[in-house]
C-alpha cells in the first residue's frame, strides 16, 4: 500500500509543469500585460549527502544567471516585450537605493509566497498582492508586470539515495521553480505556478529552458494577438 502511494506521489511530482493559476483580471483582459521586467531570481540548490546537506552556490548562481534569458525567450515566443536588464547586477551596483528597494520587494514576495503555496487556487480569486509599493520599481510605469522566481533544488548522492531508500524515506534529485507574474502597478499576483520536477537533468540549463516554456504555455498571448 505504501509503495503504491509512493508511486502515485512520484508520478504527481514528476510532472514537468504543474497547474498555473490566473488572476480574474488577467483572464478577463482587464489587466493588460505587454511589457514585463524580471526581478533577479533567487535559487537555492543543495547537495544532499549522507553526512550533510551542502549548499551549492555555484550551481545556484549559474541557474540565477541562466533563468532571465530563458524566461525572456519563452515570453518573446508569446509576443511579450521583456526587460531582463532593469535589475541586472550592474544596474544594482550603480544605485544602492535601487538595490535596497529590490531586496525589500523580494523580501515582501518571500513573505507572501508561503500563502500562495498553501492555497494557490486563491490566485484565481485575486487574493494575493504585494501592495502598490511595487510601483516604486516601475519608474514611469513602463512595465506592466514583474516576474518573481524562486528555485529550490537538490542533487542526492548515491549513498544518501541508498540509505534513505533503506529507511523507506525516499529522497530524489530535482528542481522546482515557483514563478509569479505580478502587476507592476497594483502589486496583484496575476499568474502563479510551479515549474520543474524530479530528476537530476532538470538542473541543466536546457531543461530549465524547457521548464520555462512549459510554464508560460498557458499564459495569455501577448500584444500581437490582442
Amino acid at each position: 500500500m505504501r509503495r503504491i502511494a509512493t508511486i502515485i506521489l512520484l508520478a504527481f511530482l514528476a510532472m514537468p509543469a504543474w497547474s498555473q493559476f490566473e488572476h480574474p483580471d488577467l483572464k478577463s483582459g482587464k489587466a493588460v500585460v505587454k511589457t514585463l521586467v524580471i526581478l533577479p531570481p533567487n535559487v537555492r540548490f543543495v547537495k544532499n549527502g549522507v553526512k550533510s546537506v551542502e549548499e551549492m552556490p555555484e550551481v545556484s548562481r549559474d541557474l540565477e544567471n541562466a533563468l532571465p534569458p530563458l524566461i525572456t525567450e519563452a515570453l518573446n515566443q508569446k509576443h511579450y516585450e521583456v526587460n531582463d536588464k532593469a535589475f541586472s547586477s550592474d544596474a544594482l551596483e550603480k544605485d544602492s537605493d535601487l538595490k535596497y528597494a529590490v531586496a525589500d520587494l523580494q523580501k515582501r514576495f518571500d513573505e507572501v509566497l508561503p500563502q500562495m503555496q498553501r492555497k494557490p487556487k486563491d490566485v484565481r480569486k485575486g487574493r494575493f498582492t504585494l501592495g502598490d509599493e511595487v510601483a516604486k520599481l516601475n519608474p514611469g510605469g513602463t512595465a506592466d508586470a514583474m516576474i518573481f522566481v524562486r528555485g529550490f533544488g537538490q542533487t542526492v548522492t548515491g549513498g544518501k539515495s541508498f540509505l534513505s531508500a533503506m529507511a523507506h524515506n525516499y529522497t530524489y534529485s530535482g528542481m522546482f521553480y515557483h514563478i509569479a507574474v505580478v502587476d507592476a502597478h497594483t502589486g496583484n499576483v496575476l499568474y502563479y505556478g510551479v515549474a520543474g520536477g524530479l530528476g537530476s537533468h532538470l538542473v541543466k540549463t536546457p531543461s530549465a529552458g524547457k521548464s520555462m516554456e512549459k510554464f508560460f504555455k498557458n499564459f495569455p498571448e501577448g500584444k500581437s494577438s490582442s
Binding site: 502598490d132 514611469g140 540509505l163 529507511a167
Partner: protein, 466 residues
C-alpha cells in the same frame, strides 16, 4: 525449549546491522570522526577548506543581493570597535571584516573566514559601545576558536550516523509485526533524535565559551562587562509579542537567555578592569543614527511596527532637531495600524499567541494587518495611532516645511484614513517637490485614482502629475 517470539526473530538482524553501522562509523575519515582541540594548532582538512570557500561565497551573495547596509561611517566605527576585541596575532585563513546586515531580527553571527555580521535590528536595539564590543567579542571567539569548523565536523559525523541508523531502522522493520514496528521506532527514530540532540548540545557549549571569551575581551579593553548581560536583557524584553514557541532543553543552540544573563552577570562582577568602565552611549547612538533609521524601514516592511516605533522614539529623543527622525516616527505609528505600541495583557496569553500564530499561518502580512483594523478595538487604536502619526509628521514639517518624504507620509496617512482631499493635496505637493523620486510614478497613479474615485477635481494649474 525456548519460545520464539516475533521480537526475538528480528534480534540477530539488528545485531548484524549494528555491527555494520559500527564498522561504517569507524571507517569515517579521521578528520570527521575526531574533533580537534580548539585551543591547539588548527589543521585544516579538505572539509574545512570547503566550508571556508562557502563562507567567501556567502559574503559575495549577501552583498550581491542587497542585504548589506553600505554606510561607510557606521561600518568604519564597527570595524574600529571590532578590531579591539579580536586577537592581535594573525590567524590562518581569517580576514576580519565587520558588516551590517539589513535584517530587522536582532542577531549577530560570524563566518569562519572572519566576517562578522551584526543585523541592523540588533544595532538599533543596543544602547552603547560596550554592548557592541561584547557582541563582536562573542562572535570573534567563534572565529578564533574555529567553532564553525568544529561544529561542521561534528555535525557531519553525527548526521552520517543518524542516516545509517535511520536506514537500519528501515531495514530492520522488514517484518510487519508489532516487534518490527518497535524496532523501527527505536533504531530508526529515537536513536537519530538522540544523536541530533547532541549536535545542539555541543553548540551550546561553544556559545558558552564565546560568552566567556567575549567578556574577557571586553574587560581587556576596559568596556563595562555587565553590558553583555544588558544586551541579553534587551533581547529578552523586545517590543514585539514573541510568537515563537519557547524552546527549552536540547533543541536550542544558545544557552537559555535567563541562564545566560545569570552566568554572564556573575562573571562580569569578577573581572578586573584597568580603570573606569567604558560604556560610550552617546558616541554609539551618534554613529548608529543612520543605521537605526534604515532599520525602521525594515521593521515596518516585516510587520514589526512596535519595534519601529520604539527605535523611532529613541531617535527623536537622541536628536530632536532632525526632521527625518520625526518622519520615521510618523511612518512607524502609521504602520502600527490597529495595534497599540505596548502589547496588551490579553495579547500575551497563550491562547492569544496561539490564535495570532494561527492567523499568521493562514494570512499574508497585508491580510493580517487589515484584520487587526477591522475589530472595534482595532478601529479605536487606529484612530489613536493616526493622531500620533499626524503629530510626528507635523513636527517633522515644523522642522523642515519642504521635507518631501514627510509630506508624502502625511498624505499616505490621510489616504489610509479616508481623507481623500487632504491626501490629494499632500500627494500633489510631494510631486512638486520631488518629481523624480523613486516612488513618483506610484504617487501619480494614486493621485489619478483618488481624483476618479473621490471626485476631487484636479487643480487648474498644471503640476508635475500626469
Amino acid at each position: 525449549m525456548r519460545m520464539m517470539t516475533p521480537g526475538k526473530r528480528h534480534l540477530p538482524l539488528v545485531l548484524w546491522l549494528d555491527a555494520l553501522c559500527l564498522l561504517i562509523f569507524l571507517s569515517l575519515p579521521p578528520g570527521i570522526a575526531q574533533a580537534q582541540d580548539p585551543h591547539g594548532p588548527f589543521k585544516f582538512t579538505k572539509i574545512d577548506l570547503e566550508l571556508l570557500q562557502q563562507s567567501n561565497q556567502a559574503d559575495e551573495e549577501v552583498t550581491r543581493k542587497g542585504l548589506v547596509f553600505d554606510d561607510p561611517a557606521a561600518a568604519a566605527y564597527i570595524e574600529e570597535i571590532g578590531m579591539k576585541v579580536v586577537p592581535e596575532a594573525p590567524l590562518e585563513n581569517v580576514k576580519w571584516r565587520f558588516r551590517i546586515l539589513r535584517d530587522p531580527e536582532p542577531n549577530a553571527f560570524a563566518l569562519p573566514n572572519g566576517t562578522i555580521y551584526v543585523t541592523s535590528g540588533l544595532l538599533a536595539l543596543m544602547q552603547n559601545e560596550a554592548q557592541l564590543a561584547g557582541t563582536l567579542g562573542h562572535e570573534a571567539t567563534h572565529v578564533t576558536n574555529r567553532h564553525s569548523y568544529l561544529e561542521n565536523r561534528s555535525a557531519r559525523k553525527k548526521i552520517a550516523t543518524a542516516t545509517v541508523f535511520a536506514a537500519i531502522g528501515g531495514a530492520a522493520s522488514g517484518g510487519n509485526g508489532i516487534a518490527g514496528i518497535a524496532i523501527r521506532s527505536v533504531v530508526g527514530r529515537i536513536i537519530p533524535s538522540l544523536i541530533a540532540s547532541t549536535i545542539f548540545g555541543y553548540s551550546r557549549e561553544l556559545e558558552h565559551e564565546a560568552d566567556v571569551y567575549g567578556l574577557q575581551a571586553m574587560a581587556r579593553n576596559n568596556y563595562a562587562p555587565d553590558q553583555m548581560g544588558a544586551v541579553f536583557e534587551t533581547l529578552k524584553s523586545g517590543y514585539e509579542v514573541d510568537l515563537a514557541k519557547e524552546q527549552h532543553g536540547l533543541y536550542t543552540d544558545h544557552p537559555r537567555l535567563d541562564e545566560r544573563i545569570k552566568y554572564v552577570n556573575e562573571m562580569s562582577e569578577t573581572l578586573k578592569l584597568q580603570g573606569e568602565p567604558v560604556v560610550r552611549a552617546a558616541e554609539y547612538s551618534r554613529q548608529m543614527e543612520r543605521v537605526m533609521r534604515h532599520d525602521i524601514s525594515l521593521e515596518i516592511l516585516t510587520g514589526r511596527a512596535r519595534t519601529a516605533v520604539g527605535v523611532a522614539k529613541r531617535l527623536t529623543e537622541l536628536n530632536p532637531d532632525n526632521a527625518e527622525n520625526f518622519y520615521w516616527l510618523g511612518e512607524a505609528y502609521r504602520a502600527l495600524g490597529g495595534r497599540m505600541f505596548r502589547p496588551q495583557a490579553e495579547e500575551l496569553t497563550d491562547s492569544a499567541k496561539n490564535a495570532a500564530r494561527k492567523q499568521l499561518g493562514k494570512m499574508t502580512i497585508f491580510e493580517y494587518e487589515a484584520s487587526l483594523r477591522t475589530t472595534p478595538q482595532g478601529k479605536t487604536v487606529w484612530a489613536e495611532n493616526v493622531k500620533l502619526a499626524e503629530a510626528a509628521y507635523g513636527r517633522s514639517l515644523a522642522l523642515d516645511p519642504n521635507y518631501a518624504k514627510a509630506i508624502c507620509g502625511q498624505a499616505s496617512l490621510y489616504d489610509e484614513d479616508g481623507r481623500a482631499a487632504q491626501a490629494l493635496e499632500g500627494y500633489r505637493k510631494y510631486l512638486e517637490l520631488a518629481p523624480n523620486a523613486m516612488d513618483a510614478y506610484r504617487v501619480k497613479k494614486r493621485v489619478a485614482d483618488l481624483e476618479k474615485t473621490a471626485a476631487v477635481p484636479a487643480p487648474t494649474t498644471t503640476t508635475s502629475q500626469n
